[in-house]
Every structure is written in C-alpha cells, then in structure tokens.
C-alpha cells in the first residue's frame, strides 16, 4: 500500500465518524429547533410550515416568516411546564446527593480492598449495569407496592402495622434513580480513590489528624474530580428521566421527560414537544459543559 493511499485512509478515520455524528446527532437538533418554531397541524407530519428547498428559494423565504416563538410563549403561560422543569431539577438534584452518599462508602471500601479482590468487586458493580434498565426499575414495583415485598417484610418484623405508601411517591423515584444510576456514581469515585496515595493519609494522621479529619482534609478534596464526574453522570440524565417517574412515580408526578413524552405520544403535538426539548437542552447545557470539561481534563492527564 502506498503512502498517499494511507494518508487518505488516515483522513477517513476522522471523516466517517465525524459525518455520522453530524448527520445523526447535530442535524437532528437543528431540526428540533426548527420544528419548535412551527405550528401544530392535523397532517402528517403534524406541523406547518414544512420547510424544504424543494419549492425553490422564494417559497422557502416566505415560509421562514411563518415560523414563530408561539410555542415558547405557550410554555411560559402554562404553569404545568414551569413546574415540571423545576420539579425535574429538584428531584434530580436530591437523587444525585443521595447517590453520592450511598456510592461514596462503597467506592471507598472498594479502593481500600485488597488489590487481588478489586477486579472482582469492580466487575460486581458493573454487572447490574448490563441488565436491562427497564427490568431493574420494574423489579422495584414488586418491592415497593403497598402489598409488596418490603411492606410484607416490615409488617412481619413488626416495625410497622400499616403498609407504607412508597410506590407512586417521590421517595419511590429517589430510590429508583439512586438504584439505577449507582454504578455511574461508584465508578468515577472508585477511579479517583484507587489512584490516591495512601501515604498522604498516613502523613496527615502522623501529624495529629483524626481519621475523620484526614478524610475531610485529604481524601475528599483529592476525590473531587470523581465526585464531579459522578454527579454529572447522574444528574444530567436524571433531569430528563422518563421510565423511572413513569413506572414508580405514579400519575401525579411531574417530570419534564414525562411531559415531553405525553406531549408527543398522547397529544401528538410535535412543535410543543420540540420546544420542551429545546428548553430542556438549554437547561442542561451548563452541566453538560462541566462534564465535557472534566472528561477533556481526565483525557489530558491520561495522555
């Protein structure tokens, strides 16, 4: 094979995935934005104007003027959407903090485990991630129901004499999110904690720090990159989560992923669901940037 051909092949390594992502990732967002400015119509596709260059440039220009921000105005007028955004962010934030509290001791324990056991422990954390998300959320329905296994167990223990109502409440959503996203939190935490130099903690303790003091002053600050990465990996998808609020949260739970789904599948209002998606994306752009930045930095350090 000659050099020139190799150079072309080398370029293709970049061009092929680049083009794919442009067409199937970036262009769709442009289309979402465009349709969010259109109006609902009873047609297929159910919106108007249908923008295309097929009818020549003048017609295209004319239709461009038919676009409007009406859907966005509509989103601000109906309190439903505002409440859904706020409650999604709050639910995601609370779940993220809870995940951190649950995941940190696990990751810490794993990092402290004898080196020979670590690969097995790591494997055990990743394994549930390989089983279906839907199945794992579904499994909690049987546990949390009023006549479910948790209530049966607690009644049997005599801790409670009335079944607890957990399913269809926010508590159920918190449990669902913490449970489903736990590996995403544990893995980055473990990655930073495992690399940490134990002699630093020994030094702190030799200098008179209590174990807890050493943890707060040495271990935790050093694990911050893992904390940030883990929190972003949980928070961002949790804001737009659909399956968990739908199956565990009951009908009165307001979360934006679910609102978008209903707007699209039940009301068949494509323009409004596009507008909901655009605002959701704007809401998530800062956390996504933080995540990208953390990723890029980790990559530079790995080099």
């Amino acid at each position: 094979m000659n050099r020139a051909l190799s150079a072309v092949l080398g370029r293709l390594v970049i061009i092929v995935p680049y083009l794919w992502l442009l067409v199937f990732f970036l262009v769709p967002f442009v289309i979402v934005f465009k349709i969010s400015l259109s109006q609902t119509a009873i047609a297929m596709p159910p919106y108007t104007p249908v923008l295309g260059f097929g009818d020549g440039l003048p017609a295209f220009w004319e239709r461009l003027w038919e676009l409007s921000f009406e859907n966005y105005v509509w989103l601000t007028q109906d309190a439903l959407y505002f409440n859904a955004y706020v409650s999604s962010v709050v639910i995601a934030a609370v779940s993220t903090v809870l995940s951190l509290l649950v995941a940190y001791p696990i990751a810490y324990g794993m990092a402290r485990a004898p080196a020979s056991m670590r690969p097995t422990l790591l494997m055990l954390v990743i394994l549930p991630f390989w089983t279906s998300f839907l199945i794992r959320v579904y499994a909690w329905i049987g546990i949390l129901k009023p006549e479910g296994l948790l209530n049966q167990f607690l009644l049997w223990l005599g801790v409670i004499d009335q079944p607890l109502l957990i399913l269809n409440t926010h508590t159920a959503i918190f449990i669902g999110i913490v449970y489903s996203y736990l590996p995403f939190m544990v893995l980055p935490l473990y990655a930073t904690l495992e690399k940490m130099d134990n002699s630093l903690i020994e030094a702190a303790q030799d200098l008179g720090c209590t174990p807890l003091g050493a943890f707060w002053k040495v271990t935790f600050p050093l694990s911050l990159p893992g904390v940030v990465a883990g929190c972003m990996l949980v928070f961002i998808p949790a804001v737009g989560e659909f399956v968990i609020p739908d199956l565990l949260g009951g009908s009165q739970t307001l979360m934006i992923g679910r609102t978008l789904w209903n707007e699209f599948f039940s009301n068949r209002d494509w323009p409004v669901s596009s507008a909901v998606a655009v605002i959701l994306l704007l809401l998530l752009i800062v956390p996504i940037m933080i995540f990208q930045f953390a990723q890029a930095r980790a990559q530079e350090q790995g080099r």
Binding site: P17, L21, P28, I31, L127, S132, L182, E202
Partner: protein, 274 residues
C-alpha cells in the same frame, strides 16, 4: 478500625450493604419468576409454567427476535464507528473541528433519551424515511457508538505508543501498523465495546419508542406496555431470560479475557527467558 491503608470493618459493611442493594431486587425478580401463583407477591410454590406461557406468547417472541437483530446489527456498526472515533480522538490531536467532534462523542453519553429519541425521529421524518427496523437500528448505532468510543479510547490512552512507532520504523504502513499492532492490543476493549453496545440496544425503551414504527416493536417496548397494566409473572420470566442471556455473554467474555491475560503473561515470561 485498622490503620490507614487497611480494610476496616466499616469498609466491609458498606460494600456488603451496597451490593445487597444492587443485587436484591434482581434476585427477588428471578425468584418470583418461578412462582406458581399469578399474584406476583404471594409465593404459591415453585413452577416453571410462566416460561411455558412466555414461549407460547407470539407477540413477545416476535419482539424478542426483532430486538436481537437490531442489537446485533447496531452493535456491530457502532463498534466500527466508535473505534474509528476513539482513534481519531487519541491519535489525531489536531484537526479542524476537533472540539466539536469530541463534544459530539461525549454529549450523547449524558443526553436525556427523550431528546435523542425525539430529535432522531424528526430527522427521519424530515428526510422521508419510514419508521421501522432501519430507523431503530440507525438510532441505536448513533447513541451506542459513543459508549464504544469511550471504552476503546481509555484503552488507547494507556497503550504504549512506542510499539506503533517501532512497527513504522520497521517499514509498516499506518494501515498495516493498525491491523498488525494496534488492533490486537485494543481487541479486548473493542470486544467489550461491542458487548456494551449490544446490551444498551437490547435494553433501550425510550429511543426505540420514538424511532420505531409498525412491525418493529422491540422487547422493551412490549414489556413496557404490559408493565403499565401491572406486574405479571410472565414478564418476570421474560426479564429473567434477558438477564440470563446477558449474564452468559458477560461470563464468557470475562473467561476469555482472563485466559488471554494468562497467555500474555506466559508469553512475556517466555520472551524474557528466551
């Protein structure tokens, strides 16, 4: 409590509790799939009758077949694209639009599925592609290739580049170097990338619901529509089978990986002695 660096009782307890939390729901689900009683939470004795029911349920079986085909095709394409993307990101540090490219590779990892699903559907409508098997497959390639890219990229970053340089010095072309040196070394990561893409595609409900059309109902979509009507032992059985399939694949892969690792160590020792 033992001293620093040791494994304290607190560490052990938190790991045990953490793993109990992770595994108990799945174990309970599997146990109750063998429940005789139709009431899911009341134990009525051991039975495999729900598995029989499951195999007689044509709708579920068709959906399972569609899902497996979509997962196989999309994982294979996503592995090729994801591996290329990983190479582009690690080996070409400077090219026009690199920031946009790395953004497009990492963003889908955290992008809410409702947004990905909706945007892909609108694309398919805009270009006049009928919703069905093809559109689900294209959508799955797109979101799983980024996971493959991340897995392969981490392997490429820890890879000793002097091996590649040595091959080039000895007169290998870049393509030859890739196939004879780089690919064999990153192969385990490529394989686990494929498996990750396969299971992600197998599991996906939201993106598939948006991008699929009549005749291409996937298993998660089928399971979801039944779950909304209530928990049934039949679905427990279907879930248990899905878990069994995934567990088998992961187990085989880890055994193969272990064997390769042992072989590699043996080769290295032989090389050192010889």
């Amino acid at each position: 409590m033992t001293g620093p660096g040791g494994w304290s009782r607190f560490n052990i307890v938190s790991i045990v509790l953490g793993f109990a939390f992770l595994y108990l729901p799945i174990v309970l689900l599997i146990i109750y799939s063998f429940n005789e009683s139709r009431l899911v939470t009341v134990w009525g004795g051991f039975s495999t009758k729900w598995y029989g029911e499951l195999f007689r349920n044509r709708g579920l079986m068709d959906a399972a077949w569609v899902t497996l085909r979509v997962a196989f095709l999309s994982a294979t394409a996503a592995t090729v694209l994801g591996t290329l993307a990983a190479i582009a990101l690690t080996r070409y540090t400077r090219f026009r639009g690199r920031i946009l490219f790395s953004g497009m590779v990492f963003a889908p990892l955290v992008m809410p599925e409702v947004i990905t699903g909706l945007s892909l559907l609108l694309l398919f409508v805009a270009i006049g592609l009928d919703r069905g098997f093809l559109t689900v497959t294209l959508a799955h390639i797109t979101f799983t290739m980024c996971f493959v890219a991340v897995v392969v990229q981490s392997r490429l970053l820890s890879f000793d580049r002097s091996l590649e340089e040595a091959a080039m010095d000895l007169g290998a072309t870049p393509a030859g170097t890739f196939f004879q040196v780089t690919l064999p070394v990153i192969a385990p990561a490529v394989v686990s990338g494929w498996m990750l893409a396969f299971t992600l595609s197998l599991d996906d409900l939201v993106i598939a619901s948006f991008t699929s059309g009549p005749g291409a109902t996937t298993l998660p979509m089928k399971i979801y529509s039944q779950v909304r009507l209530g928990v049934t032992p039949e679905i427990n059985a279907a879930c248990t089978l899905m878990i069994a399939v995934v567990a088998t694949v992961v187990l085989i892969a880890s055994v193969l990986n272990k064997r390769r690792e042992v072989q590699r160590q043996r080769d290295e020792q032989a090389a050192r002695r010889g």
